[in-house]
């Protein structure tokens, strides 16, 4: 049994079948890519898995338990964390607070303990701050601890979003175009970072990416979507050589 299993997943919006017959599995520690042209349904798949949409067909199982149609906060608590294509940080809050909020579900004390500043509350706050600082060190954001998240440059914002997602202690990390808008140098660093995250946090990583070079170089397996259908799945080499993939990306060769 894989950590995450997706079986025959489908969703339609009115007359539009956005995703159909999508199958997928992800194990702990794996790094798998999801690619496809614009409008192929990649983000839609992510949104179904994280509970934003309810699928109209098929099932999503985490550790054998169905999570299809569950509310997003419950999905996250079960161990799936994500980032967003159009970065969604808590812009007005500090870099440190963004990560600390990620730890919210590990808070064991209640409102009363908070108000009287109980010993347990003090202890937990310190523990979480220490963890947050460790995380931010990994993501090279320590120097900006107290700055509002929206004042960060694009690259650091992407990194902060990944750090925040990791703070929820996920088993699976889903990254929606983490390298979008980055320059080649930043992309290189991001690739290394994603590799390091996988080793350090033992998470399964599933990422959507447009940059083929990035996907091909770091992913072990790749799924290719086009018009909501899976047109190819396999190792980077298999996918690269698949004529359907070439067609989807470059169009049909006119001979």
């Amino acid at each position: 049994m894989a950590l995450l299993e997706i079986e025959n997943l489908g969703i339609g919006f009115g007359g539009l079948q956005a995703v159909a017959g999508f199958n997928f599995s992800l194990n702990q520690g794996e790094l798998v890519g999801l690619i496809g042209p614009n409008g192929a349904g990649k983000t839609t798949v992510f949104n179904i898995v994280t509970g934003v949409y309810r699928p109209t067909a098929g099932d999503v199982r985490l550790e054998g338990k169905s999570i299809a149609g569950m509310k997003p906060f419950r999905v996250n608590r079960l161990g799936i964390a994500r980032t967003f294509q159009n970065i969604r940080l808590f812009g007005g809050l500090s870099v440190l607070d963004n990560v600390l909020i990620g730890f919210n579900q590990s808070v064991a004390h209640g409102f009363l303990g908070t108000v009287v500043r109980s010993r347990r509350q003090q202890l937990e706050e310190r523990m979480h701050e220490q963890e947050a600082i460790d995380l931010l060190r990994t993501f090279d954001l320590l120097g900006r601890l107290d700055d509002p998240a929206r004042t960060l440059a694009y690259g650091p914002q992407r990194r902060l979003e990944i750090a925040r997602a990791l703070a929820t202690r996920p088993k699976i990390l889903m990254l929606d175009e983490p390298a979008a808008g980055m320059n080649p140098q930043e992309k290189m660093e991001l690739m290394e970072l994603i590799g390091a995250v996988r080793r350090k946090f033992h998470v399964g990583i599933w990422l959507i990416e447009h940059d083929m070079k990035l996907v091909m170089s770091i992913c072990e397996r790749i799924t290719v979507l086009d018009h909501g259908e899976t047109i190819a799945a396999g190792t980077p080499q298999q996918v690269q050589d698949n004529p359907k993939v070439i067609e989807a990306y470059l169009g049909k060769a006119e001979v």
């Binding site: 996250n76 967003f84 007005g92 607070d97 409102f111 109980s118 010993r119 701050e129 600082i133 929820t168």
Partner: protein
């Protein structure tokens, strides 16, 4: 420079006063309010004292609304409704039983009634909070405005409940005067400390997260519904407390005092102080209660000047007096090495 020392959590907290000392200090502060209150009753001009107490009530209202509007970002125009529920709960009960309460039990009874007023308002906050969760922005504002108006209209229509006199449109009068400087400012301290400690903590940070981005908050495992309802329940509780205090200050209640104009006055305090800033709300509540009194010298022009000041303020500083910041910011971080 090599081998820079990495920051640790202990460094973050190095110059923070231990929690228990703060708690003891707070109890002492509240206790000290008592002799001050006695002295004020004796020596202070009754008009000045009245303004001081009304400032205290305004602080409670503004800070509690800030939790809902500024910190959690749920624009509510129903705060006067919550206040009215507390005010009438306290007013009706204290008027009915005023001759049956033995003098030595009056403080304890008053504490009980004040908390009860808060709980009644809280219950309304829960009832209003749940259906309005599907709404946001302008729609939520209108729904909460409707709630506040319903409370005012209903109170206007009820002359009595069983043997309890409510007063209807004539209002409720001759409520015992119990509120003094001590009761008001003890609640001010409790309200400010509770809300500030709540939101500036691990457990309370999600309130801000809901305001900043609900979708991202949910993706981080935050039950946004829970936090929105919690904001309404806690905010309404303190509005109810403020209601009881104001009812036993003047001794008179008029349903008209709790219409949407009152709600808007509180919203103005929150916006002027800086949405999300607790100390900002405190400052604005002081300013906007004190200023109209000072402007009495200008008679007819009073409200015009008041309104002009608000306009100028919003033009010059649209983010409010303090914006998102707080006055106290005690936690001074040691300089971090740039890496």
């Amino acid at each position: 420079m090599e081998a820079q020392q990495a920051p640790t959590a202990t460094m973050l907290h190095r110059n923070q006063v231990p929690a228990w000392i703060m708690n003891v200090a707070l109890v002492i502060v509240i206790a000290v309010l008592w002799p001050i209150s006695v002295a004020f009753d004796k020596y202070l001009d009754s008009y000045v004292l009245d303004v001081l107490i009304r400032i205290g009530v305004a602080i409670i209202l503004a800070v509690s609304l800030n939790l809902i509007n500024g910190i959690t970002g749920q624009f509510s125009l129903g705060h006067a409704g919550f206040m009215a529920l507390g005010a009438y709960t306290g007013g009706v009960l204290l008027k009915h039983y005023q001759n049956q309460i033995p003098g030595e039990l009056l403080p304890a009874t008053f504490i009980g009634v004040t908390i009860l007023g808060g709980v009644v308002a809280s219950a309304a906050g829960l009832i209003v909070g749940i259906p309005t969760l599907r709404l946001s922005g302008d729609y939520l504002a209108i729904a909460t405005l409707g709630f506040g108006e319903i409370i005012a209209v209903v109170l206007n229509q009820i002359d009595s409940i069983g043997k309890f006199e409510v007063g209807g449109s004539a209002g409720l009068h001759n409520i015992p005067h119990i509120t003094n400087f001590f009761w008001t400012y003890a609640w001010v301290v409790i309200c400010v400390v509770v809300i500030a400690r709540l939101v500036y903590s691990a457990k309370g940070k999600p309130f801000f997260a809901v305001r900043e981005d609900e979708i991202a908050a949910a993706a981080m495992g935050i039950d946004t519904t829970y936090y929105k309802v919690a904001a309404f329940v806690i905010g309404a509780f303190f509005a109810g407390v403020a209601g009881v205090l104001s009812a036993t200050l003047s001794g008179n209640l008029d349903p008209g005092d709790f219409n949407f104009v009152k709600s808007i006055v509180i919203v103005v305090m929150v916006v002027l102080g800086g949405s999300g800033s607790i100390t900002g709300s405190v400052l604005a509540a002081i300013l906007l209660t004190y200023l109209p009194e000072q402007l009495r010298a200008f008679e007819d022009w009073r409200l015009v000047i008041y309104a002009l000041l608000l306009i100028v303020m919003m033009l010059v500083r649209p983010e409010g007096l303090l914006g998102n910041r707080e006055l106290w910011w005690t936690r001074k971080r040691l300089a971090f090495p740039e890496e």
